[in-house]
Amino acid sequence: MSISIQDVEHVAKLARLDLTEEEKQTYMQQLNAILQYAEKLNELDTEQVEPTSHVMELVNVMREDESRPSWPIEQVMKNAPDEEEGQFKVPAVLE
C-alpha cells in the first residue's frame, strides 16, 4: 500500500490542515516510510487475538445523575480568542 499526493490531500482535509506543496511531498514520503514499516505487523497472525483498547479491565464509570455547579461563564470565556455576551464568537457559518 502506498500513499499518493491525492491521499495526503484527502487526509489533510479530514484533519482540517492546510499543507504547503513542500509539506505534502515531505509527509507523503515520511508517511509511506512509516506505513511500510508498519506492514511488519502483517507477519503476525492475529485472527484469534482480541484487541486491547485498555490495559486494565475497567467497566463503565458512572456517577449519580445529579446537577452540579459548573464554571462561571466569565472564567470559561477567559481564554476565548473572540467572545460576545458570554458566547464564543466565530465567523458566519451561513452565507
Partner: protein, 485 residues
C-alpha cells in the same frame, strides 16, 4: 554541597531545626536558573513572584509550629503539558502561547496539599511528541552533561532541570518513554507509574490509553516521596484506578536477596550501543552479586512494538488534537473568513511539523477503509505484547533492560528522520503498551554520557520497582555523579 544535592529528609531536618528557610531554597533555585538556564533552556515560564510569596507563607507556617506536608518547601518544575491555574501552560506549542488555565490539574492540587513550591513550567516536545526536545516551538533543551547533545524527549526540560540542579524535583509525562528516556540521557531517576495510578485530569492529552504522569528526581527515595504525594484515585478521571496506595518509602529496604529477575534477550541485541550494553550488564551483575537470581528470557513480540505504538499513539493523538480549533482557547488565525477557515488556518499556523505528521498518520490510520488494517491490527498486536509481559511475570518479580538503546545523540543529528528517531524508544514503548510500571536509574557512563537501567514491574507493583532501583542505587557509584556545568 548545594541544597539541591541533599536528600529530602536532610532538607526537612534542617527546616525543622530552623537552619534553613523555604525562602532560601526558592532563592537558590532562581539563582541557579539565572546561572545555567541560558545554556540549558529547560524553562518556558517562571513563576517567580508566586513562588516567593508561597515560600514566605510556608516559612510563616513553620515558624508558627504548623505541620509539614510530605514535600514541604521543595522547589519543583512542572512539564508544560500539566495545567496550572493562573500560570501559562503552552505544551511548547504556538497554539497555546497565550493559554492561562482556569483550574489546576489533580496532581497540582495534590502537590499543593503536600506543600511543594512551583518554580516554573518546563520545556518539552510540542504536545509531548518527540524523543529529543527539538520539537519545542520555543527553543530546544540542551543536555547538562554535554550541551551539544539532546536531553531526550519529550520531558527533556524536566530531566535537564533536575540534572542541572535548577529544581529539587520535576514532573514529566510518559506516553512511549517520555519520562524514562530523558531520565536516562540526563543521568537522573525517572518513573513511569502503572497506567491509572496517577490522575490524568489536567494533563493535556496526547494518547489517552498510554499517557501517564510521573516524577523525575536525583535519587530513588525522592521518587518514592513524590509518588506518595501524587498517586491515588480521582473521580475526575474515568481511567483512574481504585487501588490502595502502599507506603512507597518504607518499601525501600535495600534488599534484593532471593528476587527473580528476567533479562529479555530482545532488549540486549543489536541496536544497543556497546557502551550502553556494557553498563547495563555490569548493573545486572551487581544485582546478582547482591543475591538476586537473573535469567535470560524471550519476549518474542518486542520487535513489533514500535510500529504498534506509532499507529495507536498517532490515532489517539489525531482524535485528541481535534479539540484545537481556534474557537474556545488558543490562537485563532486572523486570516480566516469562515468557520471552516478558522479551523484549517488556526491548526495549520499553530501546530509544528511533528504534530502535523502524527495527526496525518493517525487520521489516515483511522480513516474509512484503513481502520481494520492499521488501528485494529495494532490493538491486536498490543494484546500479544501485553501477553509477553504477563508470561514473564508469572515467574519473575521484575524485568531488567537498558532504558534507551544509545546515549544522548547530538542536536540536529536525527531530526529529519522520524523512523530513526522513533527507534530511540524501542526499550520503553513495549512497557507503555502493556501499561506496567518502569523506572530508569543511572547505571554509569558511556563516552562521558549517562546510561539508564530500566526496571519493569507488574501492574501496581511500584514498590518492587522502587525497591530494586533503590538497592541498586545504594550499591552503585552513580547516584552522586553530577554534570560539570
Amino acid at each position: 554541597m548545594s541544597l539541591f544535592d541533599m536528600k529530602l529528609q536532610d532538607i526537612h531536618a534542617k527546616l525543622a531545626d530552623k537552619q534553613l528557610k523555604v525562602s532560601e531554597l526558592v532563592d537558590e533555585a532562581f539563582a541557579r536558573i539565572g546561572q545555567v538556564d541560558t545554556q540549558i533552556g529547560a524553562f518556558l515560564t517562571l513563576a517567580e513572584e508566586q513562588a516567593r510569596a508561597e515560600a514566605e507563607s510556608l516559612d510563616e507556617q513553620l515558624a508558627a509550629g504548623g505541620e509539614r506536608g510530605l514535600l514541604f518547601g521543595l522547589p519543583m518544575g512542572i512539564k508544560d503539558n500539566i495545567v496550572t491555574e493562573g500560570l501559562r501552560t503552552t505544551c511548547a506549542s504556538k497554539f497555546l502561547d497565550n493559554y492561562q488555565p482556569i483550574y489546576h490539574a489533580t496532581v497540582m492540587e495534590k502537590l499543593k496539599a503536600a506543600q511543594a513550591v512551583t518554580i516554573g513550567k518546563l520545556n518539552m516536545d510540542e504536545f509531548a511528541m518527540g524523543g529529543s526536545n527539538e520539537n519545542s516551538a520555543y527553543h530546544p533543551v540542551r543536555n547538562p552533561w554535554s550541551t551539544d547533545h539532546v536531553p531526550g524527549g519529550s520531558s527533556g526540560g524536566s530531566a535537564a532541570a533536575v540534572a542541572a540542579g535548577e529544581v529539587y524535583f520535576a514532573l514529566g509525562s510518559d506516553t512511549g518513554g517520555s519520562i524514562r528516556q530523558p531520565a536516562a540521557y540526563c543521568g537522573v531517576v525517572g518513573l513511569k507509574p502503572t497506567y491509572g495510578l496517577i490522575s490524568r485530569f489536567g494533563l493535556v492529552a496526547f494518547a489517552s490509553s498510554l499517557d501517564q504522569i510521573g516524577p523525575l528526581t536525583k535519587n530513588v527515595e525522592d521518587t518514592a516521596y513524590v509518588l506518595q504525594a501524587i498517586a491515588g484515585h480521582d473521580e475526575k478521571d474515568s481511567t483512574s484506578a481504585r487501588v490502595d496506595i502502599p507506603d512507597y518509602v518504607s518499601s525501600l529496604n535495600g534488599d534484593v536477596k532471593g528476587l527473580r529477575l528476567a533479562v529479555p534477550k530482545e532488549y540486549m541485541g543489536e541496536g544497543i550501543q556497546p557502551g550502553v550494553r556494557d553498563a547495563v550488564k555490569a548493573a545486572i551483575a551487581r544485582l546478582e552479586s547482591m543475591g538476586a537470581t537473573v535469567e535470560e528470557v524471550s519476549m518474542p513480540h518486542t520487535d513489533y512494538a514500535i510500529a504498534t505504538y506509532y499507529l495507536l499513539a498517532s490515532s489517539e493523538a489525531s482524535s485528541n488534537l481535534a479539540r484545537f480549533d481556534g474557537v474556545r482557547y488558543g490562537v485563532r488565525s486572523d486570516k480566516a473568513d469562515s468557520l471552516l477557515e478558522v479551523y484549517h488556518r488556526s491548526r495549520s499556523e499553530g501546530f509544528g511539523s511533528e504534530v502535523k505528521r502524527r495527526i496525518m498518520l493517525g487520521t489516515y490510520a483511522l480513516s474509512s477503509g484503513y481502520y481494520d488494517a492499521y488501528y485494529l491490527k495494532a490493538q491486536k498486536v498490543r494484546t500479544l505484547i501485553k501477553q509477553d509481559f504477563d508470561k514473564v511475570f508469572e515467574q519473575y518479580d521484575a524485568i531488567l533492560s537498558p532504558t534507551a538503546p544509545t546515549t544522548a545523540f547530538k542536536i540536529g543529528e536525527q531530526v529529519s528522520d522520524p523512523l530513526t528517531m522513533y527507534m530511540n524508544d524501542a526499550c520503553t514503548i513495549p512497557v507503555s503498551l502493556a501499561g506496567v510500571p518502569a523506572i530508569s536509574v543511572p547505571c554509569g557512563l558511556a563516552d562521558g554520557l549517562p546510561v539508564g537501567l530500566q526496571i519493569i514491574g507488574k501492574h501496581f507493583d511500584e514498590t518492587m520497582v522502587l525497591r530494586i532501583a533503590h538497592a541498586y542505587e545504594q550499591a552503585g557509584d552513580w547516584a552522586d555523579r553530577r554534570p560539570a556545568l
